[in-house]
Symmetry: C2
Subunit: 180 residues, 2 copies
């Protein structure tokens, strides 16, 4: 899914600035669905504007930098709907956390314990935010995707909590064996 389609998706739910679109991919409704950076969003908005998919309106602000508010056009909505019909590619994941844990035998047990604890805390915080969010209680698609996210995060947090102790013991044992 290219960035231009992602921006159209955000704008289809309401007007937004580039900055707000970025936030939608961080903490907002698309928080754990798709990542996107400033360096990709702003050029994409420029291209979409040139193609008539969005309309950008500059707004001077008194106590803030000027901002450009973008709104999606009828043509943009049509392009979004067409892009949504294309068969989805495979999910792509990049998890430093899992890569590091994979090599647990390279690391001190205390370091591993810290990594796991911080990750469990992250899940708790994220779940707390997700459970009290309003933006996802309306359209069925949003509710469905949100529910899947909640379910996966709860399961992951439970797995880490339930297996933490045994895992750390096993790493200790393996390290002692290797040291002999």
């Amino acid at each position: 899914m290219d960035i231009r389609t992602l921006c159209l998706g955000v704008l289809s739910r309401g007007d937004a600035t580039g900055y707000e679109i970025k936030k939608a991919f961080e903490e907002g409704p698309f928080g754990h669905i798709h990542a996107a950076s400033f360096g990709a969003i702003y050029p994409a908005l420029g291209a979409l504007s040139d193609e008539g998919m969005v309309l950008g309106t500059e707004q001077a602000q008194e106590k803030r930098p000027d901002k450009k508010v973008f709104s999606i056009t009828a043509q943009g909505r049509a392009a979004l709907d067409a892009a949504l019909l294309a068969p989805p590619g495979d999910d792509k994941v990049r998890s430093d956390f899992l890569f590091i844990l994979f090599f647990a035998n390279h690391l001190p047990v205390a370091h591993l314990a810290g990594l796991i604890d911080r990750r469990i805390a992250w899940y708790r915080d994220t779940l707390a935010r997700m459970e009290t969010c309003g933006h996802c209680a309306e359209r069925p698609g949003e509710v469905f995707v949100h529910g899947l996210g909640l379910t996966i995060y709860r399961t992951a947090a439970e797995y880490l909590s339930a297996n933490r102790g045994r895992f750390l013991d096993q790493v200790s044992a393996a390290n002692h064996l290797a040291a002999e």
Copy 2:
């Protein structure tokens, strides 16, 4: 986590060609942990070779193209261990599937049903492969990460199966309301 570290990680488990490293990130042990492409792997191996982190040996093959088998050096192992100590960045996910489902109200119900069914089938196939894989029964880190992956995929497949019917009904209902 940069590609050079990812390559060192794969090579720390045994010698491999660039092609085999790619496979490790597709179906292999790093299958759903981290994505990486040819266009990144080959230049990374070249750089690692220049820096003395890996040793590349060219091997002529009778019935296949020549291949370069890389093996990690002591310096490479040290660099890997150092990189593993750095604090992990946030996980990055890119899911076309979730993005499309989010906009369920833009799509025909039959199309959504197909998307969900294909995704459930993908989970079943992937789980079957993961459950019978040998590479993950040894080191505690690999077992732990593999177990988390299995748990998450099982949960996701169950969520999709359990909520599929209700979701499609809700989309139908919402579409009928909107048509009035």
